[in-house]
Symmetry: C2
Subunit: 162 residues, 2 copies
């Protein structure tokens, strides 16, 4: 089988193991992400950030504020405003004024939004299962565990800098 050329090919023979791990991680992630993005676009006419935002709201029936969404999605505030505007125009989410703090509002999925998200989430889970399902369960568990350690370390570094 001919190895498919990809980003990982930028690793030189004498490169450090860490670099190889990183390039492989990046390649995997890009492959899966672009697959998910194109399916979301083709099958549901939506985008990954829109899907992410709805997924966050799905988990928070009481609603979330813009700032919370911004932190969870790790993007700046202005972007959340833009996505929320779109979704609100399409009737998928609503902004509700908060009485005790009139600067902010709660964003919630509408019934239509919940229905729409449920459909996408089912499909999304199938795509992901197809891609990860080939790994033995022990490998998936190992991956989850190691990525957990990695994330802790990277996040700690970010805190140090800030």
């Amino acid at each position: 089988m001919i190895p498919m050329p990809d980003l990982e090919s930028r690793a030189a023979p004498d490169d450090h193991q860490d670099l190889r791990v990183w390039l492989r991680l990046l390649t995997c992630c890009n492959l899966i992400e672009s697959d998910v993005r194109s399916r979301l676009r083709n099958e549901f006419d939506t985008t990954l950030p829109r899907f992410d935002l709805m997924a966050q709201l799905q988990r928070a029936p009481a609603g979330m504020r813009m700032g919370e969404l911004s932190r969870h999605m790790m993007v700046t505030n202005g972007n959340i405003t833009g996505i929320t505007d779109q979704l609100e125009k399409e009737g998928l989410v609503v902004r509700t004024k908060i009485e005790t703090d009139r600067r902010s509002s709660l964003i919630q999925l509408t019934p239509l939004g919940r229905k729409s998200f449920a459909k996408m989430a089912r499909a999304h889970e199938t795509w992901i299962k197809n891609m990860f399902g080939a790994l033995p369960e022990s490998s998936r568990d190992a991956l989850f565990k190691v990525l957990g350690e990695l994330k802790l370390h990277v996040v700690a570094d970010r805190h140090d800098k800030a």
Copy 2:
């Protein structure tokens, strides 16, 4: 320690393990990638695709054609033209006409490009080592191995569709 909110928080308690693994993978990758991007911008006034292109050329002293670069970097042709134009204008790469096929040309790093890339690559390797170095070697090996399996499967799926 308070868990930092991130993309992974979109996983619901009853979500399938595959979904959790994917969200964690995505979060790790995004964290590291955005760190690398901002360092490349701040310290070397460049971008990830420019760095990637130079890294590919570094490995191919005889040069590469646009189409090869396009396949390796997994982006469409037009983008390669744009990046190459920039790098050529800055004297980091050169296009050389191929005598036997006058439609295409070989792209190579110039001596300046090699020097510039070497400097960036050293810094880049340090960043990556700092992030991955905290993992025990056995974990890194495991990660490398599992991601290898995952990639094979995802790539195979892509071939099936095409």
